[in-house]
């Protein structure tokens, strides 16, 4: 598939979620079979990583405490950041890990059921990992935007129902 078409396809998938391949084909002026096989290919190449649903768990009544942890790593021969990151990202409490520039090395997003649970996770599991020099926790107080979507301030359709 053409590079530009492929990008268009990805954009439609990202924007519209799971709409039938038949509709995507029409929208992009492609054959249904082309769309199906391209999606399969994109999944295989892990360009499409996962088809997920964005959920506001707080609204769903779930108590979730999240924190961003700045992690400083002691540089050591033979042990790079990747190894430390790997030790961290396998914990189910860890939702995201990034290597960052600046005053610390890894930025880790964790989730727990309570403040205590989250704090204990940092103290007992994170801080004790070999080569982790220090941690600094920032608890998340409010979410404004996630995965490109503004939360809690949806722009409703304010238009009149019929306009000539």
């Amino acid at each position: 598939m053409q590079e530009t078409k492929r990008k268009e396809l990805l954009k439609v998938l990202e924007r519209e979620g799971n709409i039938p391949a038949k509709d995507i084909a029409v929208m992009l002026n492609l054959e249904v079979e082309e769309v199906r096989s391209e999606i399969a290919k994109l999944e295989k190449e892990k360009i499409i990583i996962k088809h997920t649903t964005l959920i506001d768990w707080e609204k769903a009544g779930e108590e979730i405490v999240s924190a961003l942890i700045d992690v400083k790593v002691t540089p050591q021969r033979d042990v790079g950041f990747d190894e430390v990151a790997e030790k961290i990202y396998h914990f189910p409490e860890v939702k995201a890990v990034f290597l960052v520039s600046g005053g610390y090395d890894l930025s880790v997003l964790i989730e727990g059921k309570s403040l205590k649970e989250a704090a204990l996770f940092v103290a007992e599991k994170l801080a004790t990992i070999e080569n982790v020099q220090s941690t600094m926790s920032h608890f998340i107080l409010k979410r404004y935007k996630e995965a490109g979507v503004i939360l809690n301030k949806f722009e409703e359709d304010h238009r009149q129902v019929i306009i000539p």
């Binding site: 519209e16 509709d23 029409v26 929208m27 129902v161 019929i162 306009i163 000539p164």
Partner: protein, 402 residues
């Protein structure tokens, strides 16, 4: 005192009551309706443009501007017209910022029409031209375009309606409600007739940026046509800025100064905060337009395909965000169709004859709606049309039995 009606100017009675009022109330009183009847973008104005307005307010931009509009904005408009249509206009003398294309249409008519002058209006078309022509003391002359010609105006059709009083031709392409566009070749044919018969063109190009399969051509850009054309455009559709009320006129200096005469006393100027937002739109909004156009185009294909699949004849619209399928096959009038569709399936579309007599037998479906809403609405329409054809078959059989 007599009845209030008796004090009204006679011209008011020439303007028929709104063709959608009753239907509007029906839709308002129904629940769970998906509306494909909205003639404005479903997108909200891009954030950076909104921010330019709040910033302008914070800086104290709360005053009048010059009658013609902010000089910087007129410069941006001139630059845009040069870049997109290769038309050169002088920002000082040939551009006027208006309160929407709506005001622009009114100004154009009022500055040109002498009592009894005929205004040629190809239909189906946007609803404001005929009333504005009446209000200016003119005589609107409807020209019925049809699906056979893809709802384009042809030179033959135009010539058939010419009289010694013909003065103005209104062109509105890309067209609301049909989605028709006129390409260069087709415009050349029209320009020939316009020049031969010494007409002035009011060209409403508000949907120009929403042209698919090619780019918009203005009749003003054809040889000898710039001085004969009052070019009208605005930010409502391209930038999703309907509520801001910013439009503009580009025309010869004598036309612009005549229109400024009216505008300065009736409107004074367009709102300054909207003009500041428009400035931002021209300077940094090109990508937004491209993005939105891309999405409209995808939906356009989706809607046309689905309408055809359900058996409705539907010519391919190449502009704006409307599809105008024929519903003649169903045996219902446009109005019956829209009211039944609303009642049975809770989908609102606009009846074709609202846009002129020639629109009868068609409905206008706007695809300024999310893909989710479009697919749901189309599914419901398909159910409706399918049930209808079953019902019709039954009726046909019964009639045969009798």
């Amino acid at each position: 005192m007599k009845n209030c009606e008796e004090y009204l100017a006679p011209v008011i009675n020439k303007i028929p009551p709104s063709g959608i009022r009753k239907f509007f109330d029906l839709v308002m009183n129904a629940e769970g309706v998906i509306s494909l009847g909205v003639g404005e973008p479903d997108f909200v104005t891009p954030w950076h443009i909104r921010e330019a307005c709040t910033e302008a307010l914070a800086q104290g931009y709360t005053m009048y501007t010059s009658n013609q509009g902010l000089p910087e904005l007129r410069q941006e408009i001139a630059a845009y017209l040069k870049k997109s249509l290769d038309l050169k206009y002088c920002p000082e003398k040939e551009i006027l910022v208006t309160v929407g294309a709506s005001e622009a249409v009114d100004l154009a008519m009022r500055s040109l029409i002498a009592p009894g002058d005929e205004v040629l209006i190809p239909e189906p078309c946007y609803v404001s031209y005929k009333p504005c022509a009446y209000l200016a003391g003119g005589e609107p002359v409807s020209i019925q375009t049809s699906a056979v010609n893809k709802f384009k105006l042809t030179s033959g059709l135009l010539e058939k309606h010419l009289t010694s009083r013909s003065k103005i031709l209104v062109l509105s392409y890309p067209n609301n409600p049909t989605g028709a566009v006129m390409r260069r070749k087709e415009l050349e044919e029209i320009a020939r007739v316009v020049i031969e018969n010494d007409l002035i063109v009011i060209s409403d190009e508000i949907y120009g940026e929403l042209t698919y399969n090619g780019s918009h051509v203005s009749i003003a850009s054809l040889p000898q046509m710039q001085s004969r054309t009052i070019l009208i455009n605005g930010l409502s559709k391209a930038y999703a800025m309907t509520g801001w009320r910013i439009g503009y006129i580009a025309a010869a200096p004598a036309f612009v100064s005549a229109m400024v005469k009216i505008h300065q006393y009736t409107m004074l100027c367009a709102p300054v905060m909207s003009q500041m937002a428009a400035l931002e739109a021209f300077r940094n909004g090109k990508d937004d337009v491209k993005q939105m156009r891309g999405q409209y185009d995808q939906r356009r294909r989706l809607v046309v395909t689905r309408l055809r699949e359900m058996g409705l004849d539907c010519f391919e619209p190449e502009g704006a965000f409307y599809v105008f399928p024929s519903i003649k096959k169903t045996g219902l009038s446009s109005q019956e169709f829209t009211e039944e569709l609303l009642k049975k399936e809770k989908v609102a579309v606009v009846s074709g004859e609202v846009f002129g007599r020639g629109g009868e037998g068609h409905i206008r479906c706007s695809y300024a709606a999310s893909v989710t809403n479009l697919t749901e609405a189309l599914q419901r329409m398909e159910n409706f049309v399918r049930n209808l054809s079953r019902g019709l078959n039954c009726r046909g059989l019964k009639e045969k039995a009798r």
